[in-house]
Every structure is written in structure tokens, then in C-alpha cells.
Symmetry: C2
Subunit: 213 residues, 2 copies
DNA sequence: GTCTATATGCGGATAGAC
DNA sequence: GTCTATCCGCATATAGAC
């Protein structure tokens, strides 16, 4: 269990089993393994044999569930985006309607970053892989991701319209710099001194301090 | 010249010719091409044939100058770090001795980010590749990079000691979040509306606003 | 020094047994 | 459904001509 090619442990299988059938569960197990290995090894470093081993099966067997390695990549990318977007929107929507726009922004920052830092394999893998994936896959995914980008743009514009942001701020640049601060975190964060929530607090304080009037 | 495999144009050959001998210049041309292709294609996506084409030679010829693909990778990583560190320190050192620590920090932020955004192929390639490179190469490079990390730590600690930073700021987290904001920029920046200097201004203003008391 | 031709190994994908 | 065996293409690396 401390082996180099450890299979998925409880912490990696966070999501529901996605339909009760055995087949659906196996498929899900493979997808979870792919997300884990892609997060750890990156797009090109992850071999099908690694993914199969992490899912406790063999490389040839993957093809019963997925048409190709690229199909696996695309599903992981999509799921990673959906999880980050889903969690962020869920927590923002849970705020009461009269929450100041700046506090909505703070909640979004915490939600996005905590999703990444809690080692959600799909989200981390998605962030790490996107820039290294073949162009057709990247182009397709960027289209989906644009919706999430627009969501952040709206958060910032709302705060701007409410007069809560600094003068001279370029909202497009600020948005990319802010998301960069969050998205780079898989490259350096390791479990340790600070919890995901504590890092998220630091990030929210830093970002808001930099953005607000 | 507008071909898919365009060779290096003037903008890519920024550095000195590094010794007058023809051999040294050829070697440099290959290294420049490698930096360019690694930046564009990422660690795994860059093939020796691509690098050779960009250097206007053939894959087999590279081995006259470099022992292996990995040797090429390591030189690009090292040079990228040296350029970012060199340029940042140079510009900070050029400040007068009585410059407030917070302004030294602002200068460092601008210098690092402008180096990346001006499409310095070595620095961008280094940033993009590091997380995707085989572990031995990565470990070796991280050791070298630790010196640059310490430099940033000192900048932040000096500002903290001078009482210029917010209370409750965790300097380690702040440093990684700040560098993430800068290092993610190769993933999204394209020449266009805002110049590197304008983006750097936005980043410096954002970061300082988030850090200072 | 630079080229072409080729050896080699690896990893994705497929076929077919069970 | 899952396995083993194998095909195949690709990219690094080497050999040797020029």
C-alpha cells in the first residue's frame, strides 16, 4: 500500500459511484484513476499502464470503456471544469441575496482554490494539463471553459459597477492574474503547515486587498 | 517565412552571440530554438525534429552539440532561471539605497513579469516545463531555484520588518500566491491590447494592494 | 560539422483467448 | 469483461558517408 504504483485510496474516490451497475462503477474507477495519474504525472507523463495500475486493471482493459487515451483526457478535463465551476457557483449562490458583490467575489475565490487544494484530482489535472494537450482538444475545452471565465468576469464587473473596485483596474488583466494566482497552486501546494482553508483565506485577503477601493 | 515550422526570427535571438566562433554560434542557435519550441509545445510536446527545424538543421546534427534531449532541457531550465533572477536582481539593485522595501518589491514584481511577458523563451519555457519534467531533472533544478525563492522571501521579510505589510499575512503563502500570479501568465498572455509593461503595472498594483498595510 | 539511414525502445491500440 | 500477446508508429539516439 505504500508501493510506487499505489491504487486509489479512500481519499481519491470522493465522488458518488455514479449508477449502481458494476460496469458503471468500473468505468468510474478508471476515470478516477486517470484523474489522479494525470494530476500527478501531467498530460504526457501519464501512461495508460499507470492509469490501469491505479485502477487495479490492465491497459488493454481500458478500451472496453474508453475509445482512446484522448477520450480519457477529454472526460477528465470536462469533469475538472465542472467541479470547479459547480462548487464555486454553489457556494456563491448560497449567499443571501443582499451580500455585497465584493463578498461574493471572496467566496468564489475561496471555493475555487479550496477545490484545487483539497486535491480534487479532476480539477487539478484539468488545470495542469490544459496547456499541454493537443490543439484540437485544447480548442474544444477552451470553448467550454469560456463560460466559467464569463462567470468570473461578471463577478468582477458587478463589483466594479457597485463602485467597490480600485480606479485604474483593468478587469480583464485582473481576472487573469487572479485566476493565475489560484491555478498555479497545484504546482507548489503540499499538505503541511497550512490547511487549504487557511491558504484560501490568505488568497482571498490578498486578492481583495489588491482589487478593492 | 510564414511557414508552420518557421525558423528563428530576430525577435527570438535576443541574447549575445556568446563567443565569436562559428561552433559557439551554432550551439547557441540550437539552444535558442529549443527554448522557443519548449515554450510553445511544452516539455513532452517538443520533438527534436521540431527543434532542429527551428534551428535550421536536422535532428541528428543536434548530437554534435548536446549529449541528449535531456541535456538540452536542463540548459534551457537553467538559463530561464538565470534570466529571470538576473533581470529581477539587476533592476532591484539599480534602485537607490534608500528606496522603501515595498517599492523594491514592486520593482521585482515588474521585472519578473516583464521578463516572462516579453516572451523570453527561456524563462517561459522553464516555468512551463518544470512541473512536467522527469523527477531527477526537476529535483536538480529545484535546488538551483531555491536561491531565487530565498531572494523573494528576503524581499518580503524586509518589507514585513519595516512594518509595511498587513497583519495576519503568512509570508510563505503570500510568496507562492504572488509568484503564481506571475508564473501563470505564459498560459494566457498574448500580444494584444495591453503591453507587458501595462500588465506588469496591473500586477504590481494588485499585489501591493493585497500585501501592504 | 552536417547529413541520411537505421537501430532501438516505448507506449497506444487491436485481436483474440478465456 | 478482462486478460495476454502482438502490431505498429513515432521519437530518441547512433553509425557512417560526405
Amino acid at each position: 500500500m505504500a508501493g510506487k504504483q499505489a491504487t486509489l485510496d479512500a481519499a481519491d474516490a470522493v465522488q458518488p459511484d455514479n449508477g449502481g451497475s458494476k460496469s458503471a462503477r468500473t468505468r468510474q474507477r478508471i476515470l478516477d484513476a486517470a484523474a489522479k495519474v494525470f494530476r500527478e504525472e501531467g498530460y504526457a507523463g501519464a501512461r495508460l499502464a499507470d492509469i490501469a495500475a491505479a485502477a487495479d486493471t490492465k491497459a488493454g482493459s481500458l478500451y472496453y470503456y474508453f475509445a482512446s487515451r484522448e477520450a480519457l483526457v477529454e472526460e477528465v478535463l470536462d469533469e475538472g471544469l465542472d467541479r470547479a465551476f459547480g462548487e464555486t457557483r454553489r457556494r456563491v449562490d448560497a449567499l443571501s441575496a443582499d451580500t455585497p458583490t465584493i463578498d461574493r467575489l471572496a467566496t468564489a475565490i475561496r471555493a475555487h482554490l479550496e477545490t484545487v487544494l483539497k486535491l480534487d484530482n479532476y480539477t487539478s489535472a484539468s488545470i495542469r494539463m490544459l496547456g499541454h494537450v493537443p490543439e484540437p482538444i485544447r480548442a474544444r475545452h477552451m470553448k467550454r471553459q469560456a463560460v466559467y471565465g464569463a462567470y468570473w468576469r461578471e463577478l468582477l464587473e458587478a463589483a466594479g459597477a457597485a463602485g467597490e473596485l480600485r480606479d485604474g483596474l483593468d478587469l480583464s488583466a485582473a481576472r487573469m492574474l487572479l485566476l493565475g494566482m489560484l491555478n498555479w497552486s497545484p504546482e507548489w501546494y503540499r499538505r503541511g503547515r497550512l490547511s487549504p482553508e487557511e491558504i484560501a483565506d490568505q488568497a482571498a485577503a490578498m486578492a481583495l486587498g489588491g482589487l478593492r477601493k
